[in-house]
Amino acid sequence: MTQQIELSGVNKYYGAYHALRDINLSIPKGAFVALVGPSGCGKSTLLRSLAGLETISSGDLVIAGERMNDMPPRKRDLAMVFQSYALYPHMTVEQNLTYSLRIKGVKKAEAKKAADEVAAITGLSDLLHRYPRELSGGQRQRVAMSRAIIRHPKAFLFDEPLSNLDAALRVHMRKEIRALHDRLGATSVYVTHDQVEAMTMADHVVIMRSGVIEQQGRPLDLYDRPANRFVAGFIGSPAMNFIPGKVTRNGREIVLDLPGSHSLAIDLDLPPDHAVLVGIRPEHVRIATQGERGFDVPIAAVEFTGASTFVTTDTMPEIVFVLNERSSLKIGETIRLTFAPENVHVFDAKTEQRLGLKD
């Protein structure tokens, strides 16, 4: 597959601050890539560097086979949807849509035709002569999208485009943006801090922290095999539980720092007494059946969401797990929990990197 965007060894400094560290990323044509991470992780800087709004300090930035390091934004042929939408307040919707075409010198009639076509796709046909201030948040969002679509750019860049919308509209727009992407056969780079958005929309998720790509890959691969504790904790909601533990003398089992003498039989290539962190997702914890071995823990909180029940244990660290039914558990009650070894993720306690299980 041809690569639409390729970054290799990209670094970005602001004075002494190292904002992007050795970024390597290939985005094939037609892919939907999400850049996700906590605020300040460098995802927006990376996106802005692609757009040309920031210049990278070192490395190579190639778009459609052409090195773009020092190109001004206007020569990169990328379209961007801003978080604040950045609609030109002194122009009507139609003028906003056709702005880029007019700069290119496209004829008036042609530009108008293009605007009508795009407006038909995004449902803005009735609003073309309004000014941005006369539009609702969702409509503004559509204008911002349309302004990008009209150009048929080499790639779409989205900078948290949904964060100013209310929850219901956000879920709806998620699907709509993805559908548009597929329909246009576009290449998209989507920045968000919301891991659910990243997981549901993207083909390829890039998780960043402190200017470093922590892991990238297909959404479910990240979910199933997080490379380190950070990724494991970032992806999935409610978040993964982490329990400190220790490899036993024989190196075949892990003793968890939980009440009860139960240990997990996990085959690891580790020296005895090695300190580890065991990760288990809330949906993989279950209440032990009669006579089954497990950990006896008291309950600290029970929360009902209607469809499911979140239970928090009174342990250090606490464990959260999900029951898919109404439950009669009481606070203070002690229950026995268990989980299957194959659902467990083991991380090194010091490096926090994933430790491979022997298959």
Partner: protein, 275 residues
């Protein structure tokens, strides 16, 4: 007390206070309409018994006011044009970035803004004499006013540019515009009102400028109205009705502009001085 009654009372007090505060202005208008004898009446009259409208025509002719006002206008327009052309772009850059250099630049500008004209006029006069600029006295005054007022203009306009979201310019860049194009197409139109208000403020200042004109323009035919008013007021003058008529004709256009654009001028001024 009900809300409306309280509001009416407050408004009444406010009107009285405004009347007291603006009394000097009223006194100027009233005096300009009085006759020579009524002017010195004791007790003074607060409404002219018979308005002497012909005083205005007389003063206009005898003091050659059209020439003075023309010179004031030339100087004010020249200064504003120079300041706006040079200051707008600079204010934009100072608003767009946030780093040590911008802080240094702002500090220098604020320092220049505070230099009193009466102190700067000595070196400027001597320097201009030496480079021959005093042969073009109105240009010399325009340059001096521009240097004096440009920092203030920059501070005001910078506040305007700060209110234009940076994303708009970035969107224009991504949409295929150059820096120059984005500045003229997007940023400038959005900051237009603020720039205009600041320019009007500068115009009003330059229209009344006195120190530089008094010191550098010797030729009466090139002097502005402020210098004309100064020479009208001899030490022992008794022509107060004529002087007030002169003052009336001089300031009424400025006051009219101010009252019309009051809201915008006030908000532009306050955003620059404190923010």
């Amino acid at each position: 007390m009900s809300e409306t009654a309280r509001n009416r009372l407050m408004l009444a007090i406010a009107l009285i206070m405004a009347a007291i505060y603006l009394f000097p202005l009223y006194w100027m208008y009233v005096t300009s309409l009085k006759s020579g004898s009524e002017m010195f009446a004791n007790p003074p009259s607060f409404w002219p018994s018979s308005a002497q409208w012909q005083t205005f025509a007389f003063v206009w002719e005898s003091r050659n006011m059209s020439r003075y006002l023309w010179n004031s206008t030339v100087i004010a327009f020249g200064s504003v044009a120079l300041i706006a052309v040079l200051g707008t772009g600079c204010a934009y850059v100072l608003a767009r970035y946030r780093n040590v250099w911008v802080d240094v630049g702002l500090f220098l500008i604020l320092m220049l803004q505070v230099l009193p004209a009466s102190l700067m006029v000595t070196p400027i006069f001597v320097g201009f004499t030496q480079v021959g600029l005093l042969d073009y006295p109105r240009l010399a005054v325009i340059l001096a006013i521009a240097a004096k007022s440009m920092p203030f203009f920059m501070v005001l306009v910078r506040a305007t540019f700060m209110a234009v979201p940076m994303e708009l310019e970035e969107a224009a860049l991504v949409d295929g515009n150059s820096r120059v194009g984005a500045f003229f197409n997007i940023v400038l139109p959005l900051a237009r009102n603020g720039i205009l208000v600041s320019a009007i403020l500068i115009f009003m200042q330059a229209f009344g400028e006195f120190v530089y004109s008094k010191s550098m323009i010797q030729d009466v035919s090139l002097q502005p109205a402020s210098v004309g008013l100064n020479s009208f007021m001899g030490p022992n003058t008794s022509e107060w009705n004529n002087i007030m008529a002169y003052a009336t004709m001089y300031v009424t256009p400025i006051l009219a502009i101010f009252v019309l654009l009051q809201r915008r001028i006030v908000s532009g001024l306050t955003s620059g001085a404190l923010k």
